[in-house]
Every structure is written in C-alpha cells, then in structure tokens.
Amino acid sequence: MSLKMKNISFIIGMLLLFFVLWGTGSLAEAPEGFTGFGQETDISPDDSELVFSYFHGDDSALYTVPVDGGKAELVKKPAEGKSYSNPTFSPDGDQIAFIEKWKTDERRYYQLRIFNRKRQTIEQRINADGYVTEAAFSPNGQSLYFLKADVFKSYSSITGARPHEFDIFRMDLTSGETEQLTDKKAYTMSSLEVTSDGKQLMYRTSQKSADQLVVRSIDSNHGKTIVPEGDFASDSRIISSPALSPDGKQMAFTSVATKDENGTFIYEAFKMDMETKQAKQMTSFYEHVTNPVFFHNQDKLIVTVDNNFAGGEPDNSYWQVSMDSEERHRVSIEMPKEKGQ
C-alpha cells in the first residue's frame, strides 16, 4: 500500500470509528431510574386510606389506596425532575403535608408543601432556606411541626451527603408564622410526632453513633431520653422510624433482630411499652422492615417491607400487621397506568 493510501485509509478509518462511537454513545440510554413504592406512608384519620409515594424513573408522586389494598389513586404528580415524599395526613384528613424534593446543578431543595384535597391545590406556606425533611400536624390541626436541616453535606465517606444540623420548627397554619423550637443543630433528627394530648413532641436523634428517642415538652425545653430495652442483634443501638400508638401507651419502631448468612442486618418491627421501656419483637419477615404506622382506631399497624435491602434499589411493599403479631397481610396495590403507556 502506498503512503498516500495509508494516510487516506487511516483518516477515513478514524472518522468512521468516531461516528460509530458517537452514534452508539447517543443511543446508550440514560438510566431509567428507580420504579417502585417509597418507604414512608401514612394512614388517614378514619383508617380508610393509605397515602404513599411511588417512584417512576427516580421521580415520585403521591398516591392513596384503601388500607386493605386495591386500586391506587393519584393524589398529585410533581413536575419532571421533582419528587413528592414523606406524606402526612392532617387530623381531619383534608390536607396532606409532604416534602417536595429536587436538585439543580448548585444545590438540592427540600421544601414543605401542603396539599388541600378539597381544592386539589398545593400550598406553599413557607419558603425554607434549609432542607425540610418531614412534618407532623398537631392533634387540633392548627399547627404544623417540621424538621429542617441547615446543610446538605457529607460528614462521612460511608454515608454520603445528606441533611444535617437539624432543628424543630412550628408553623401556625392560620397565621402562617413560623417559630424555631429548638437550637440543637443536631447531626440527625427524624420521625417527628406530636403526642395525642398535643403537649409533647417525640423524635429520633443520635448521640455517639447510638440512636435515641427524645420526648420533649412543646412549651418548655424539658425533655427526656427513652432507651428501649430488648433483644437486639446490633452492637450499637439502632432505633429506626419510631411511631407512637394513638393512646400514647406503646411505641413501634424497627431495629436489628438478627443477621443473615452474609452478615446483613435483618430489621424487624418491635413494640415497646412506654412505661417499662421493654421492647418485644413483633414481626418475623426476615426482610428489611421499616416505617411502622399505627391505625387510629384499630389495634394494628402498617409496615414497609424492603425485599431487596442488600441490593441496589429497594423493593418495597406494605403490610398490615396486628399488634399481637398473629395476623399479617400484604396491602396489594394496583397502580394506575401512566398516561401514554
């Protein structure tokens, strides 16, 4: 082959290779993202509906379904690239508070929203400069308590970036005024609940890598720490997604019950007597159980079970569990078809 032919062949070959790679690269589809049920749920005050978030391509919308299962109904779908999560019913069931999450090149946003079911509108009562992660209505429905973090960053290479420096805030739903109730800048804070008498707040936080539950008076700074006693399989104390029973006498939470053959923690739901602090395992799914939510007028609760905890993406399902642990059944949900499918 002459030198001229060698040059021409090489240049044509390179151009072809470039265009083939360019075409192949543009055909390589972006990841579809996670599709499935979210972790957090809430039960309506009349125990008829379950509200949950459902992810489709990493964006989650809010749906409701009858607590015994059936066809899900779309509550509200966010704009593309945004997600609705952590729904909470108001005491009259007319409103659902939730968190709208999205991110830009610069930062992430976690904003508190309230969906009015009668008007079918979303209200933005505050424009928080930090990261609102969850909210809880007062029993009289006049206030909304919420957790807000100041920063979204990574303090540890294991956990990755997440909200930190939490405090509790209260918003008067009539006037819209917001006040800060704590000044803790806590590393973590979650599972905020208001006791049925409306006088105390309960939340989960951590100290020296051990989880703890705090019950504090709303009007004073007085608070006490609750440490459940029970047969847990983890060395450090893990108390996940605690929830108070409607009568305030019991608490449900999830913790490590055992480990599987690979050493992965198996989380089960526990119930604890608020007086004796004695915790007793109440589920035996041998999967990852999270987020217990009490029914308001029945002696049972709904938990979220993740069948793919050790895998990359969760595979959540919702289960009704009786408080005496004797009955359980899956809330089977038929999702409505997406438009255009």
């Binding site: 040059n7 090489f10 390179m14 290779l17 470039f18 790679l21 360019w22 690269g25 543009s26 990841p31």
Partner: protein, 291 residues
C-alpha cells in the same frame, strides 16, 4: 526519475532524518546503488538488468528503510505508534465507559482525543515528513501530552475506574515526555562524537522540558483559578498564553541547546519565567479582570 532514485526515495520515506542528513543519505545510498549497477554492467549485464540486480541486492525498499530508521532513531517510530494508537484506544475505552456506565458521553472530548492521537499516529506513518518538520512533531507531541495531562486530572468514575484510567493516562503522559526529549535530542543532529557532549545536550533538553512542564502546570492552574474565581471569559485565554510563548521560544531554544547546552539551561529558565510573567502582568494590570 530512474529506478535507482525511486528506490532510494522509497527507502528514505521510512526514515526520520532532517533535511541536511537526508541529502547526505540520498547521496550515499544512490552512490552505493550506482556502484553496484556499474559493477554488474562491467560483468556484462545490460543497464536495466544491472539496475534490477543492484536493487535486489540492496533489499526491499520498505524493510531496508525500516532498518535504517531503527539504526539511526531506535524505537522512536514505534514509540510514536504506541502513543498515537494508545491515545485513540484511551478515547474509545473512556468514551464507551462514559456512555454505558456513567451515561454521560462527551463527543467533543472524543473528537479532541482522536485528533491528538491521530496526529501522532500520522506522524509515525509519515515519519519522513515528521523528520523534515521536527518542530511540527514537537507541537503535536506537546498537544498530546497536555491533553492527556488534563485527562489525568479530570477522570471521573468509581475509585477503580479512576485508578485504571489514571494509570493509563499517566503512561501516555510519560511516553509523551520521553518522545519529546528524544525528538529534541534527535533534531539536534549532533555530529560531534564526544560522549560527554551528547550527555550534556540530553540533560539540557530534559531540564528545558521540565521548565516547559512547569510552565504548562502553572498556566493550567491559573486557567482553573480564573474559571473558579471569575467565570468563563475570553480573558481566561491569557492564562494559557505562557504555554504558547514557551512553545514558540522553544523552537529557537532547540538549536541553541545543541550548540550551548549549559548556557541554554539558564536561558530556558529565564524564558520560562518570562513566558509566565508577561501575560500574567497584563492580566493583573487589566482593571477589574483579576484580583
């Protein structure tokens, strides 16, 4: 052009020699062939038969040219091939990785990667042209080293992807620097046979190129700092002018190093400092553009 001249020309297409050296080789090889031709004509062959015989005895022009190249510039052409094809292969692997694992392929990046890799590969294919224009080969090598250096600093992915592609890019940068030093040294076309002088010249090239690497690093640091502090602007191009100034000065330094290796280390240092100082003073003096 007669058959003998064509044969010599084909041979010389495979060698990197600069113009002066090429003319000498041309004369020498042609004389050799002419003598052989004369010898066979004296033995009774016709002119045509004698030419064919002389050429056959001399060997295939391609392989003889390759042997000549390897004898005069050992491994230099191979190094260019490895660098060029290595750069192209890096482009293919990283682009496929970016497309299918990170879902963020950048075609413009691939185009630049292919362009720098292709330039070096074309230089290896057209080694005779590269030999006549040592400085152009220098520019192609500089561009390749700087680009692979930028790649090295901006690799994205998991820890293992960063380690594997990082080692790959580091090898390419290393090979590029060796190729530039060797190319500079070969371009000096030293006739002096003193081993000591050769060593000094080689050292001077290495020292001058280290200054060049420092200039490139400082410029790219200022470019990054400018983007970080001031955002994208045409004035940012001023931060890379030290590289351009240094490359232009190096064209004249190349010859000077061969003649005055010791002094040129000092002039190289001076020019390197100047190439950074001048554009940065301009940048600082423009009100509101910096600091």
């Amino acid at each position: 052009m007669n058959r003998l001249k064509k044969h010599v020309q084909k041979m010389l297409e495979q060698t990197q020699s600069a113009n002066g050296e090429r003319e000498e080789l041309w004369e020498e090889l042609l004389n050799h062939l002419e003598e052989a031709k004369q010898h066979y004509m004296d033995e009774g062959l016709t002119e045509k038969q004698a030419e064919k015989r002389a050429i056959a005895e001399f060997g295939n022009s391609n392989s003889a040219g390759h042997q000549l190249q390897e004898a005069m510039y050992p491994y230099q052409r191979g190094l260019l091939y490895v660098m060029g094809i290595g750069t192209i292969l890096f482009g293919v692997l990283y682009f496929v990785n970016a497309a299918f694992l990170q879902h963020d392929p950048i075609p413009v990046w691939l185009a630049i990667q292919f362009f720098t890799g292709s330039l070096i590969t074309l230089a290896a294919i057209n080694i005779s042209f590269a030999g006549r224009y040592f400085y152009l080969l220098h520019l192609a090598l500089f561009a390749n080293v700087i680009w692979n250096g930028i790649n090295l600093l901006t690799i994205q992915g998991s820890q293992w992807q960063i380690i594997i592609f990082g080692i790959y890019a580091l090898l390419l940068v290393g090979m590029g620097i060796v190729a530039i030093i060797r190319n500079s040294y070969f371009s000096s076309n030293l006739i002096d046979n003193k081993q000591q002088k050769h060593g000094l010249v080689l050292t001077s090239y290495i020292v001058n190129l280290l200054f060049g690497i420092a200039v490139v690093c400082v410029s790219l640091f200022f470019l990054w700092a400018y983007f970080f502090a001031m955002g994208r602007s045409l004035f940012a191009l001023l931060t890379v002018t030290p590289i351009l100034i240094w490359i232009i000065i190096y064209k004249f330094q190349m010859g000077y190093i061969a003649r005055k290796p010791l002094i040129s280390m000092m002039t190289g240092f001076g020019f390197s400092v100047l190439s950074i100082a001048v554009p940065l003073s301009v940048l600082i003096l423009i009100p509101g553009r910096w600091l």
